[in-house]
C-alpha cells in the first residue's frame, strides 16, 4: 500500500497524469467553447478520432508539426461541416453530432484500410511522427530545488504546454475580450446579441470550428505522443468523458482544467495499478475512468439539485 501511495505521489506519476490529461483537456476545452456558445458537441470523440488518423497519416509523409497542424485542420473542417448542417440546414446539433460520430468510427477504419492497403486495425506499417517532449533538464543547475523542478516540469509533450497556455488564453478570451462576451451572450440568450447587431450565427459557426480544432489537436496529441500511431477506436470514449468534464468543471476554463486533470489522474491509475496490484482484474481497472465520470456527474447534478432545493424550488 505504502509503495503504491509513494508511486501515486511521485513526480513520475505526475508526469503520467499530465500525459493522460493533455488530450482530454484539449477535447474538454473544445467542448467548453461549443457548450458556452449554446451547442452540445457530442461529436468530440469522433473529431478526436479523425484528428488522430489525420495526424498519423500526414506525419508519415511530413514533419511532426505538419501532422499536428493537419490534425487541427481536420478537426476544424469537421467543425465546419457540423456548423453547416446545424446552422444552415437547421439540423439538431445532437443528431449532427451522432452522425459525425458514426462517420468517424467507420470512416477512420475505411481510410486507414485504404492508406495501409487493407489493415483495418492499426497503422503499424505506416510509421508516423511524434510530438517532441520539452527538455528542461537545464533547470537542474538551480541549486536545491533544481532536480525537483526537472522531475516536475521536464519531459512533457510540447502540446501539454500548449494546452496549459490554451487554458489561460481561452479564459482571457472569454472574460477579457469583447468576442468572449459575444460568445457567452450567444450561448446564454441569443436574442440579446442578435438585437445588438452581433452576427450570432457567425459566432456559433466559429465556436464549432474552434471546438473541432481543439478536439483535433487533442487527437494529434493522443496519436503522436500518448501513443505513436493509430489504432481503430483509439479514443476509447475520451471525447465523451470530456463532455462530463465540461459539466464537472462548471463551464469555466480553469474548472474544466481541474476536471480534466482529475479524469487524467484516474486514467493514469489504470497504468500504474496493474504493476502494484496484479490481482485486480484489468477490465475493472479499465472501467475506472467511466465509473468516475458517472460518479462525478451524479455528484455534480446532486449538488446543483440540492442548491436549487435549498432555495425551495420544486424539482
Amino acid at each position: 500500500m505504502n509503495e503504491f501511495l509513494l508511486t501515486v505521489f511521485s513526480a513520475a506519476f505526475l508526469a503520467t497524469v499530465i500525459r493522460t490529461s493533455t488530450p482530454l483537456l484539449l477535447a474538454t476545452l473544445g467542448g467548453l467553447i461549443s457548450d458556452l456558445s449554446g451547442a452540445l458537441n457530442v461529436a468530440l470523440d469522433g473529431i478526436m478520432l479523425i484528428g488522430c488518423l489525420t495526424a498519423v497519416i500526414v506525419s508519415h509523409y511530413a514533419p511532426w508539426y505538419v501532422g499536428v497542424l493537419a490534425g487541427i485542420g481536420a478537426g476544424a473542417a469537421v467543425g465546419l461541416v457540423m456548423a453547416f448542417f446545424h446552422l444552415r440546414m437547421k439540423a439538431d446539433i445532437i443528431i449532427v453530432g451522432f452522425a459525425i460520430g458514426a462517420l468517424a468510427t467507420g470512416g477512420t477504419v475505411f481510410a486507414l484500410s485504404l492508406a495501409t492497403g487493407g489493415d483495418k486495425g492499426t497503422s503499424i506499417n505506416l510509421p508516423s511522427g511524434a510530438v517532441p517532449a520539452v527538455d528542461l533538464s537545464f533547470l537542474g543547475a538551480i541549486p536545491g530545488i533544481g532536480p525537483a523542478l526537472v522531475a516536475i516540469f521536464s519531459g512533457h509533450s510540447l502540446l501539454s504546454w500548449v494546452a496549459a497556455f490554451l487554458v489561460f488564453a481561452i479564459w482571457y478570451f472569454l472574460y477579457r475580450t469583447p468576442w468572449g462576451l459575444w460568445l457567452r451572450a450567444v450561448g446564454e440568450y441569443p436574442a440579446a446579441p442578435e438585437a445588438a447587431g452581433i452576427p450570432v450565427n457567425a459566432v456559433r459557426f466559429w465556436s464549432l470550428i474552434v471546438s473541432g480544432a481543439l478536439a483535433g489537436l487533442g487527437g494529434a496529441q493522443l496519436a503522436m505522443f500518448n501513443f505513436i500511431g493509430f489504432t481503430a477506436n483509439m479514443t476509447a470514449g475520451r471525447g465523451f468523458i470530456a463532455l462530463g468534464a465540461v459539466l464537472l468543471g462548471a463551464r469555466h476554463p480553469v474548472g474544466v482544467m481541474f476536471a480534466a486533470l482529475l479524469f487524467g489522474a484516474f486514467d493514469g491509475l489504470t497504468n500504474v495499478l496493474p504493476g502494484h496490484y496484479p490481482w485486480i482484474p484489468p477490465e475493472l481497472i479499465r472501467m475506472i475512468p467511466f465509473a468516475v465520470t458517472i460518479l462525478a456527474l451524479l455528484l455534480f447534478s446532486y449538488r446543483a439539485q440540492r442548491a436549487l432545493a435549498l432555495r425551495g424550488v420544486k424539482a
Binding site: 438585437a195 447587431g197 452581433i198
Partner: protein, 513 residues
C-alpha cells in the same frame, strides 16, 4: 420631406401571409410618432423593416432625405436607429454595462475596456435622467429598470431615432408616467421617438402624430390633438367597437376556493408571498391586480399545482388541495388558461385531438384500462372545433400548423369544454386582437355566469375593470388593497396601491375581502 419616409412598403412572408401592403409612414424630426393598430395589423413588421430585421419586398425607405437600405440591424444602428422590443433582449447574468456595451464594446487593444464602458453608461444614465446603476446583473432588476437599460443600449449607440415596441404593456400607470418623462427628455435633447401601442389613452397622451394601420395597410395619419379615442378605435378596426361585457350584478354563491396563510418562495429562495389569504366565490370574477412580479402569477401557479407551496392551505370544494397532483386538482374541477398559451398550454407537435384530451387521461370516457378510446377522443375534438369555430383541417392535424389565434382557441376550448368549478386565467388577451378579445371576454363571463369561480390576473387594468366583480391589489407578495368593482373605481386609484404608494387599513381591506 420628412425625417423618416417609408413609401409603399410591402412584405409577404413565405407561405403567403401579407404583412405589409403599400405602407406609408412619415415621421418628423423631434416628434413622438405613434403607430397603432390591432395585432396582426402589420405594425411589428413595419418596425422590423425600419430596424433592418426584415427586408421589404417593395417600397423605399429614406432617412434625413437620403434613401437607405438596411441589410441587418447593424446597418440601422449605424444609421442612428435604436429599438426597444416588447420582450427585452438582455442577457440575464450580464451586468447592466455589459448588456449596454454588448456589440459595441470600447476596446483597449484586444481587451474589452470595462472602465470606459462603465463611465459611458453612468454618463448617459445621468444625462437622460434614467437613473440606472451600471453594475448589478440585469436579472436582479425590476421590469421598469430593465426597460431603461434597453433605452440606454440604444442611446449608447448614438440613436437619434428610438423605436419603442409596446413599451407600456408591462408597466404600472405610475411607471408609465416615469417612462413618459424619459421620452420627453429624449425629445428635448433632439431625439425622435416612434411609439407602438394599442392602449389609446396613452397614445393620445404622449404622441404628437399618430399613424393607424389595419390589415397590413396604413389607414391614415392624424395629429393627436385633432382626434378622439373613439375615432381612433374606429379607424383601427374599421367599424364601431364597443369593448364592453355586460356584467349583470348577481349574488355570488358559496366560497369555492379559500387560500389561507400561503407562503411561496422563488428560485433564489426569497419569499414571493407570505401569509397571504384570499377567497373566491362561485359566480364571481376576482381580479388580481399588480405590476408583474408581485406574486399574482405565482399564486395562480400554486393553485394550479405548478408551484411548490412552502406553507399554508388552499382549500377547493372543501378539501385541502396542496398535497394533490395536478391531475387530481383538475379532477375536482380546476381549469387553467396559462399566460403563455402556446409554450405552456399546447404540445405543438401533437394533433388537435391529442391536445384536447391531454388533461383528461384519467377520464373513463376517453381512457379505459389504459387504452385510448380514439373514437370518443376524435368525436370530442370535432365537437369542440365546431363549437369554438377553430379553423383546422380536421382533428388529426398537428396544432403547430394552426395560426396563432386558432392555437389559443384550442386551449380555451379544452379548458372550458366542461364547466369548471374554479377557473384560473392569466393574461387572457395579451397579444390578441380586438375581435378575439371580445370573444375571450364573453367566454370568461359566460363561465362565471354558469357558476364558476374565476381568478383573473392581467397586466391590463382596463381588462380587469371590465371583467372583475372584485379586485385585489398585490404589492411585493401582499394584498394591499381590496375593492368591489363599482362605478368610480379608476385605474389611477389602483395604480397608487400597485406601486405601494398607499395601503388600505385592515378594516378597509376586510370590507373588500
Amino acid at each position: 420631406m420628412a425625417f423618416i419616409e417609408a413609401r409603399g412598403i410591402g412584405r409577404v412572408y413565405p407561405g403567403g401571409v401579407v404583412a405589409n401592403d403599400g405602407v406609408d409612414l412619415s415621421v418628423e424630426k423631434g416628434e413622438v410618432h405613434a403607430v397603432v393598430g390591432e395585432n396582426g395589423a402589420g405594425k411589428s413588421t413595419l418596425m422590423k423593416i425600419l430596424f433592418g430585421i426584415e427586408r421589404p419586398d417593395a417600397g423605399t425607405l429614406s432617412l434625413d432625405g437620403r434613401q437607405v437600405h438596411f441589410d441587418g440591424p447593424r446597418d440601422a444602428i449605424d444609421a442612428g436607429i435604436g429599438m426597444v422590443f416588447q420582450h427585452f433582449s438582455l442577457v440575464p447574468s450580464f451586468s447592466v454595462y455589459e448588456n449596454v456595451a454588448l456589440g459595441s464594446e470600447p476596446r483597449k487593444g484586444i481587451r474589452f475596456d470595462r472602465e470606459a464602458a462603465i463611465a459611458r453608461v453612468r454618463g448617459l444614465s445621468e444625462q437622460f435622467r434614467l437613473n440606472v446603476d451600471p453594475m448589478p446583473p440585469v436579472r436582479t432588476l425590476p421590469v421598469g429598470q430593465q426597460q431603461r437599460v434597453e433605452i440606454l443600449k440604444a442611446l449608447y449607440r448614438n440613436a437619434r431615432v428610438l423605436i419603442l415596441d409596446e413599451p407600456t404593456a408591462v408597466l404600472a400607470p405610475q411607471e408609465v408616467a416615469e417612462l413618459f418623462v424619459a421620452i420627453r427628455s429624449l425629445i428635448e435633447q433632439g431625439c425622435t421617438v416612434i411609439f407602438i401601442a394599442h392602449k389609446l389613452p396613452e397614445v393620445l397622451e404622449i404622441s404628437d402624430t399618430i399613424t393607424v394601420m389595419r390589415q397590413g395597410r396604413t389607414v391614415g395619419t392624424v395629429k393627436a390633438k385633432d382626434v378622439t379615442e373613439h375615432e381612433l378605435a374606429t379607424m383601427m378596426v374599421g367599424r364601431e367597437v364597443a369593448l364592453r361585457v355586460d356584467r349583470a350584478p348577481r349574488a355570488a354563491g358559496a366560497e369555492v376556493c379559500t387560500v389561507s396563510n400561503l407562503r411561496l418562495v422563488n428560485a433564489r429562495g426569497a419569499d414571493v408571498c407570505r401569509d397571504l389569504s384570499l377567497g373566491v366565490r362561485a359566480g364571481e370574477i376576482l381580479g388580481l391586480v399588480g405590476v408583474e412580479g408581485n406574486g399574482q402569477a405565482e399564486v395562480m401557479e400554486a393553485i394550479a399545482g405548478l408551484r411548490h407551496v412552502a406553507d399554508g392551505r388552499i382549500v377547493v370544494a372543501d378539501q385541502d388541495i396542496v398535497p394533490l397532483s395536478v391531475l387530481r386538482r383538475r379532477g375536482i374541477g380546476i381549469a387553467s388558461i396559462p399566460e403563455d398559451r402556446i409554450a405552456e398550454g399546447l404540445a405543438t407537435g401533437a394533433s388537435v385531438a391529442e391536445n384536447i384530451v391531454a388533461t383528461r387521461l384519467k377520464d373513463r370516457r376517453y381512457v379505459r384500462n389504459g387504452l385510448l378510446d380514439l373514437k370518443a377522443i376524435k368525436a370530442n375534438a370535432v365537437r369542440l372545433i365546431e363549437q369554438f369555430s377553430i379553423r383546422v383541417n380536421g382533428p388529426a392535424v398537428p396544432v403547430g400548423t394552426l395560426s396563432g389565434g386558432n392555437m389559443q382557441k384550442v386551449v380555451v376550448a379544452r379548458e372550458l369544454s366542461e364547466q369548471p368549478k374554479l377557473l384560473l386565467v392569466s393574461q387572457p388577451t395579451r397579444g390578441v386582437d380586438l375581435g378575439a378579445t371580445q370573444f375571450i371576454w364573453k367566454t370568461i363571463a359566460a363561465a362565471r355566469d354558469a357558476g364558476a369561480a374565476v381568478l383573473l390576473s392581467s397586466a391590463d387594468l382596463g381588462e380587469l375593470l371590465a371583467l372583475s366583480d372584485r379586485l385585489l391589489v398585490f404589492y411585493r407578495g401582499r394584498i394591499v388593497a381590496a375593492f368591489h368593482n363599482r362605478e368610480g373605481l379608476s385605474p389611477e386609484t389602483l395604480g397608487t396601491y400597485m406601486l405601494g404608494l398607499s395601503e388600505q387599513s385592515p378594516e378597509e381591506l376586510r370590507a373588500g375581502l
